[in-house]
Amino acid sequence: MNAVSIKGVSKRFKAGVTALQGIDLDVEPGEFVSLIGPSGCGKSTLLRIIGDLTKPTAGTVEVNGKPAERARRDHEYGIVFQDAVLYDWRTVAKNISLPLELLHWSRSKRNARIRDMLELVELSGFENHHPWQLSGGMQQRVSIARALSFSPSLLLMDEPFGALDEMTRERLNAELLGIWQETGSTVVFVTHSIPEAVFLSTRVVVMSARPGRVAGLIEVDLPQPRTSATREEPHFFELVTQVREQLAAAGAPLGETQEPALVEDQA
């Protein structure tokens, strides 16, 4: 059974923009798949469709063999947005505990899990801080801890490190890989950074813009575990070049297009 199974998915927005057209994609359990493409290729929209945060105009999505809506209701996935989306009125520990509260976990079970999660994202000792007392990178680690707190098998990440500086981003990339290997979860990761996609993924999905389509699939056969040394290997650069060429071939004028207005087609 696939972790994610996307069949013939299209999405048209109210403004008449076709964000996605005829997307077919299967993600196997334990894979780390990145969606990469220029702005406006609908990669974030595709991620939201997987999470049932928006409905496709056509096609079907299954997560762990269930229709997307059912999967969402069964808490099959955790999501991380570009903004950490932490609640200022909650401490770090309480933010991580939010999904656990909604799942009616007991207090002692919650506290034990919060401790484990803080350890996982290396934030032990910060449980009583408020989000605004943390740096952007730390906030995003809290957000990851929250997404993983209830052990979903699938982690959806929408440009989670896009707003961070390069050094923080590379460090969090390495940490994320460690977490991925430790938890064994499946990850679908949206990015517009080519090196990030290559470094993290087992497979990169290259998308074209207007309308968003799958333009190519690249297997990333870099050995695990990956470290900062991985970024200096010749094969890493070969793969980066390969992704870049596929993006160019897909007619991606990088940085030229705009995201369509996210007004949904009510039809």
Binding site: R48, G51, L53, R72, R73, D74, H75, Y77, G78, I79, F81, D83, V85, Y87, D88, W89, L98, P99, E101, L102, E122, G125, F126, H129, H130, W132, Q133, L134, S135, M138, R171
Partner: protein, 274 residues
């Protein structure tokens, strides 16, 4: 990674010291203002009935302090009753409007239009409805004055939630009650308190103005009105001072409650990180 700036532990003494220091400019303005008032009234021989000297007002205040206190408390109770009623209703309506858009679009235009009516003009009618001597006639005016600012501010807080906050809750399949309890209501607290603070002063105004149109002699507004009509303007000023003091204390108590419940909000963060 672990180089986050921790709020440095500070001694209580230093904290109080800092707070006292913060008050010095305001205190200086107060003292200078009173001194200037006193000096100008004396220098230009302003008649007592036009503007009494601060010392005369203080004198009158001291002489009548127990009467002023009981009159003040009488009026404050009316204000408080109206405050609780108006604010409670304002918060309730805001919750209903936030929960049901249709309700909001059906009633909001009328709420806005009603707010444009000079409510104070209804004071004599309220007195007629509920009885001159019935404190509820003053509570009703105070309540109507408090309702709108609390309702509109709370509603804005409830509805101005970042879309991704709502998407996050949706990803957890959270129901509407959870969304309100865990996101919309905490998000609304700072704006709700803005309304609640405005309403403290409005409730005092409502009660006193209501009393101007008639009320029992144990009420502060009636006392101010009577003193003025008999030409005892210094005594009237003493009554105004009492009303102001009560209004200020009322405001301060609500502001303190705000600090205690929304210490996470940027406007209160100095408490944590200064």
């Amino acid at each position: 990674m672990s180089t986050i700036v921790q709020p440095a532990p500070r001694s209580v003494g230093r904290r109080v010291g800092r707070t006292a220091l913060d008050w010095i400019p305001a205190l200086a303005v107060f003292v200078l203002g009173i001194a200037a008032w006193q000096g100008l009234v004396a220098a230009f021989h302003v008649q007592e009935f036009l503007l009494p000297k601060p010392t005369s007002i203080a004198h009158a205040f001291w002489d009548q302090k127990s009467a002023l206190w009981s009159q003040g408390i009488y009026t404050f109770k009316e204000a408080l009753g109206g405050y609780v009623l108006g604010c409670g209703l304002g918060i309730l309506v805001a919750l209903l409007f936030a929960a049901w858009r249709t309700l909001s679009s059906a009633f909001m235009p009328y709420a806005v239009a009603a707010n444009a009516i000079p409510i104070i003009a209804f004071a004599p009618i309220m007195n007629n409805w509920f009885g001159l001597l019935n404190p509820f006639s003053k509570m009703a005016i105070a309540a109507v004055l408090c309702f709108f600012p609390v309702m509109i501010n709370t509603l804005r807080g409830l509805t101005s939630v970042h879309p991704s906050s709502i998407e996050l809750m949706r990803s957890y399949a959270a129901d509407r009650v959870s969304l309100f309890r865990r996101v919309r209501i905490p998000n609304a607290l700072p704006q709700m308190f803005t309304g609640l603070k405005i309403a403290t002063v409005l409730s005092m105004i409502g009660a006193i103005v209501g009393e101007y149109f008639g009320g029992p002699t144990e009420a502060l507004g009636v006392k101010i009105l009577n003193d003025s009509s008999y030409g005892n303007f210094t005594d009237a000023w003493a009554g105004i001072v009492m009303a102001s003091l009560l209004g200020i204390v009322f405001y301060a108590v609500v502001a303190l409650a705000e600090r205690l419940t929304t210490s996470w909000h940027p406007s209160s963060r100095a408490f944590h990180t200064e």
